[in-house]
């Protein structure tokens, strides 16, 4: 269940993320606790000055989940935004579901496909009451 | 005095035998006292007492169709059948059944080696095939595979695996049931079933993929009574090129803990074949003072044992290691094992043992050039069946209790102490003392041995052994140590110790038993599983 307060918070974030790299980060995504960036997509390395911690990976999301997200997702809170391939998002969405979280926003980006993978921007937020802040 | 099947009179029994003769022929049905004598348990501690369970008759079918017919006849007459393969199983009940008056279903005549495949490393055999038969079949054809034998080679790979017997080579082969792959079973209604890929018509992978699809019932036929196994496949090790041995000795009593950890690592990594733990201090048991110390109530202290070892100039523990594989690989594995243990345990020392290319020569099989005392039997280690082990049989045989314990040095010390104390009241050799080493027969666990001898003409001695067996099973269970295999006269005692949650396991098995064998004709009571008809 998403609380009304959470919904407002994320609602403010979603429009701030544009459909390209620079749009996304220039808008200083208020309310996000971290961003996840898939470096397979051109331009990903440009987002050096993001206002929130940025986690990077290249296609295989296993390590970043195993080393960082799994532990963080066991505690309440933590809204994660991402610009990743649709394949990585599928994996993250499955893992997030097991930890009481949901994809609350997703949109295809106008970026060139890499190995036929579509770039997506998305937000994964706490959903089950055991992890909502 | 003839023995009758349960709930049956002489004339009904005669009609049953007559039907059996019709199925298998006059020559292959027996019921006279003379003919039935060899179906008794030669190693029975309850010989000639009311507790001895004897069969009424025996029938030996020649093929699967005859087995099916015998099962249908037994069902019609409601006579319990007790299937045996070669019917050896000495120390675990021999050919004797769980129910007085059962008919032994003797599968010895079904002795075909159906296939040995040296490219894909498996065999498929019938129950009457012995380890000698299988070995001979392989040798006569020069096939490049090695079998894994239990102690006496006259037993059956099928029968031994179905009683969860063990051997002496690499971990994935010496658990004989674990190494099986695919079964054919005659069910209690006479239907024929195959497990795994054998259930798929036309599949050529029966001995390669044991599961097929869906639940795999093969475990129900080991120490069980859900059907009569008529064919069984086994995985075989490709004939290794080279055999190498080495010994590591460690000085102090508590070094066993680290030593076990290292051996666990080596074994579970597939680097060693069977290993043999021993205590060089066993040599001192002839000294009454040392024997008193090693069997002291509550166990001796580590310091007392270390002092005794030091005074005798002996190490506390030794481990015999064996390696099978290419020559260079065995050399590297031995070097690694030695360095691993010596660098971790101060005072440990290593001795190079015999090593040679396989197959071994007759001289190498004689095992008389090993530069240190060893308990390893060379033929067993190399998958060669033998009856040489029979030299250990004392009196008229023995019964065996082999409690399973964790593969951990502390657990070894605890079992030495607890079962040592528990067995003190019996006038028997000390099976458990401070120098008793664990057996590493099964691939992933330790066992110890309690195997008192029996004497057919000494009922008092046998009664003491019988009491001791039951007592040891009960005391071990209080500590979570259970038997792995038992004679019919002990199967209820042992099964009762596997009692988690009000005996949920037994209830589940008996519910299935009632469903698939409503007349309770296949080995009622085997494994402690009783059909409704025989439940109290």
């Amino acid at each position: 269940m998403i609380s009304r307060r959470d919904f407002v918070k994320w609602g403010a974030v979603v429009p701030a993320l544009g459909t390209g790299w620079h749009g996304a980060f220039a808008a200083a995504p208020q309310g996000l606790d971290a961003m996840l960036v898939d470096t397979r997509f051109p331009g990903a390395l440009d987002v050096a000055d993001a206002p929130v911690p940025v986690l990077r990976f290249a296609g295989d999301v296993t390590n970043v989940w195993y080393d960082r997200l799994d532990a963080r997702w066991r505690r309440p809170g933590f809204v994660l935004g991402g610009i990743t391939g649709s394949d990585a998002l599928f994996v993250l969405e499955t893992l997030a579901t097991h930890q009481g979280r949901r994809v609350v926003s997703r949109m295809a980006l106008d970026l060139p496909r890499v190995n036929d993978v579509q770039a997506m921007r998305w937000i994964i937020a706490p959903h089950h009451k055991s992890v909502t802040a | 005095m003839s023995i009758l099947p349960p709930d049956m009179d002489e004339s009904a029994f005669a009609a049953f035998l007559n039907d059996l003769r019709g199925a298998v022929g006059e020559d292959w049905v027996w019921s006279s006292d003379t003919d039935m004598f060899p179906y008794r348990d030669a190693f029975s501690p309850v010989w000639n007492t009311p507790e001895e369970i004897q069969a009424s008759s025996a029938v030996a079918p020649a093929d699967v169709a005859q087995v099916q017919e015998v099962v249908r006849i037994a069902k019609r007459h409601r006579v319990p059948l007790h299937p045996i393969s070669t019917g050896k199983n000495f120390g675990y009940g021999g050919a004797s059944p769980n129910v007085q008056g059962s008919a032994v279903l003797d599968l010895k005549r079904m002795d075909r080696v159906i296939e040995v495949n040296e490219e894909r490393n498996y065999c498929l055999v019938e129950p009457g095939v012995s380890y000698f038969d299988l070995y001979r079949h392989i040798q006569e054809r020069g096939l490049k595979v090695m079998i894994d034998c239990p102690d006496p080679g006259w037993g059956s790979p099928v029968g031994n695996a179905l009683d969860r017997g063990v051997g002496y080579t690499m971990p994935q082969f010496r658990d004989h049931f674990g190494a099986h792959c695919g079964m054919e079973v005659v069910l209690p209604d006479g239907e024929l079933m195959r497990t795994g890929m054998g259930a798929m018509p036309g599949a050529d992978s029966w001995q390669e993929y044991p599961y097929g699809f869906g639940p795999d019932p093969s475990g129900l036929f080991a120490q069980g009574n859900f059907g009569v196994v008529t064919k069984m496949g086994f995985r075989l090790m490709p004939q290794p090129e080279y055999y190498r041995t080495g010994l590591v000795r460690v000085p102090r009593r508590r070094d066993l803990i680290k030593l076990v950890h290292h051996v666990n690592y080596l074994s579970d990594s597939g680097m060693v074949s069977e290993v043999r733990f021993a205590s060089p201090l066993s040599a001192l048991l002839g000294d009454p003072d040392f024997a008193a110390l090693a069997t002291k109530l509550g166990g001796p202290s580590d310091a007392e044992m270390d002092a005794a070892a030091s005074a005798a100039g002996l190490h506390s523990w030794a481990i015999d290691l064996q390696f099978l594989g290419p020559e260079a690989a065995t050399a590297a594995q031995w070097e690694y094992a030695r360095d691993r243990i010596l660098s971790d345990i101060p005072g440990a020392e290593a001795l190079d043992g015999d090593h040679f290319a396989l197959p071994a020569t007759e001289a190498q099989l004689e095992n008389d050039t090993q530069p240190y005392p060893t308990a390893i039997r060379r033929k067993g280690a190399l998958g060669i069946p033998s009856l040489g082990i029979w030299e250990i049989v004392r009196d008229d045989g023995h019964v065996g209790f082999f409690p399973v314990l964790p593969r951990d040095g502390e657990a070894v010390f605890e079992m030495q102490r607890v079962l040592g104390d528990a067995s003190r009241e019996y006038p028997l050799p000390p099976y458990f003392s401070a120098v008793t080493a664990p057996l590493f027969w099964h691939s992933n666990t330790f066992q110890m041995v309690f195997a008192p001898s029996i004497r057919r003409d000494d009922p008092e001695h046998n009664a003491m052994v019988h009491r001791a067996m039951k007592h040891m099973v009960a005391v071990a269970a209080e500590h979570g140590w259970g038997d792995y295999r038992a004679a019919p006269i002990y199967q209820d005692d042992v099964a009762a110790t596997y009692s988690f949650n009000g005996g949920a396991l037994r209830k589940f098995l008996e519910a299935m038993k009632d469903a698939v064998d409503p007349d309770g004709i296949i080995a009622p009571g085997r494994g402690g599983v009783w059909p409704a008809r025989f439940r109290p």
Partner: protein
């Protein structure tokens, strides 16, 4: 499969041919049964792992203490009825053998073989 079967027959024939030329069929059968069923315990060879004798031979050596040969193949006094008694009833550590694994005809053949083997 046919090739395999033929080669098995050929192998069996070759291994028997030397003995079989002058041996009567019952003796030849007895030799084979003895080798398979008796010799692993009662043979003349050494036992495993430095034991001087096989277990059955060792037990008889102890029992007779030189009064009779320990190896059965050196005995000329073992008739079929005597062998039957030991085979079917066992003796000490020696267990029993059933008709399904060793028939009366097999035992008679063993007796015939032992008559010739003890004369060698």
């Amino acid at each position: 499969m046919k090739v395999l079967f033929a080669s098995v027959l050929l192998g069996a024939a070759l291994s028997l041919s030397v003995a079989a030329q002058s041996e009567d069929p019952q003796v030849a059968h007895g030799r084979q049964v003895f080798e398979r069923q008796c010799a692993p315990c009662h043979g003349r060879g050494p036992g495993d792992d430095r034991s001087p004798m096989l277990p059955g031979t060792a037990a008889l050596a102890e029992k007779y203490d030189g009064a009779r040969p320990a190896a059965l193949e050196d005995r000329s006094d073992l008739s079929a009825p005597v062998i039957t008694l030991f085979v079917r009833r066992g003796s000490g550590a020696m267990p029993f053998f059933r008709a399904s694994e060793l028939s009366d005809a097999d035992i008679a053949a063993i007796a015939a073989y032992l008559q010739t083997s003890s004369a060698d």
